[in-house]
Amino acid sequence: MKLFLSNADYLRNFEAFLRSFDPAKPSELSIATHKKWINVHPVVLSIVAALAHTVHPSKVTISDVTATSGHYLARMGLFESLGKKSPFKISEHESAGRFIPLTQIRTQKEQTNFITDMIPLLHMNPQQADAIKYMVGELVRNVLEHSRSKYGAFVAAQYYAKTNIVRLGICDTGIGIRQSINQSWPAKTHLKAIKLALTPGITGTTTREGGTEANAGAGLFFIKSMAMVARDYLVIYSGSGLYKLTKRKRTKGLPHLRINPNQDKHSETDKAPIFPGTVVGIDISLEKTNEFTALLAVIREAYTRAVKERRKQHYQQPRFI
């Protein structure tokens, strides 16, 4: 497998990053980096770490990091996660940045500890923290419950104080969304599976409306809705499928949430390089999430409407003669 860490690996340019991803030879991982400047979204780092764990350490190579910003990779724990010695020294007295270095989460206990520890690390106030905790809680639990990955979830995050945005990346090398959803709902392609997973009330654990006692099929719909309301980017990549929520136009008040992911402003492909697992990358604008309760009320209305409409599809119809 081959990857290139460029100077513009944001979610907006995620397709460009994917063009550098070659999944051939899955028993090897070769990482190249931009010579002058590296600027990567935490989700890219989570992808690198997740893939590296599927390969023998001796088969993981990273080119000499010559970019001055390569120091960032060390601070985010990339070399450590690759089992490599970092070419950069981090001073003990260096002030803590607003970031969460790459973290592997394999159990619920590790998830809980991570959520508790991450907010102080990001230097956020408690109000800002609710939305982030919510997203991490839902997305990491998805990995632990559905991915069947023995390596768990790889998570990284960075808070940008100037723009008041948190960039979050979560990746696993499990069975992928299509295999998970296909347990209960037919999805011929990886992209269709992603869209099913985004649909309220759809979970791979059952065909029953309202889900099981443990799963409602609501998690990704909530996350997508939060990104929609905040006009943020959201990327979901699994197998050959990629769904990217793009920025919608600014409107007054909270938007009307759509149940069908096809109707949201997005880009998509089912021809991405095959990724062995699932990737979720999201940018969360904290200004909007200050109204988290109001946001949840809008999501509630949309979710309940979706369940009601789907239930109606199964209503018996009267026979008129």
Partner: protein, 94 residues
């Protein structure tokens, strides 16, 4: 019976295993005996929808009106209230 959610699940309730345990060991047996249960969310700032679903959805699915009569939610933050309302609403539509 009062169940202190903060004690079981911390100030941000996201541990579905804890929710499941409370449901199986406390909520369902209490409802079966027609006993009132108070879920005390004092000092719980937030919860995931998944946690609340794992906590109460099955009680509602299996017991309907009785679950609404016997389950009481105490000292909920606006976020927790909103999420509980979401789960109770969509479970009634299912």
């Amino acid at each position: 019976m009062t169940i202190t959610i903060r004690k079981a699940a911390g100030t941000f309730a996201e541990n579905k295993d804890v929710a499941r345990e409370i449901r199986i060991k406390k909520i369902m047996p209490a409802i079966a005996k027609d006993r009132e249960i108070i879920l005390d969310f004092t000092d719980v700032t937030g919860a995931t929808q998944s946690f609340i679903h794992a906590l109460i959805s099955d009680a509602i699915r299996q017991n309907r009106v009785k679950a609404f009569d016997l389950l009481l939610y105490k000292n909920c933050s606006p976020i927790v209230k909103e999420i509980i309302t979401t789960v109770t609403e969509y479970m009634q539509e299912s």
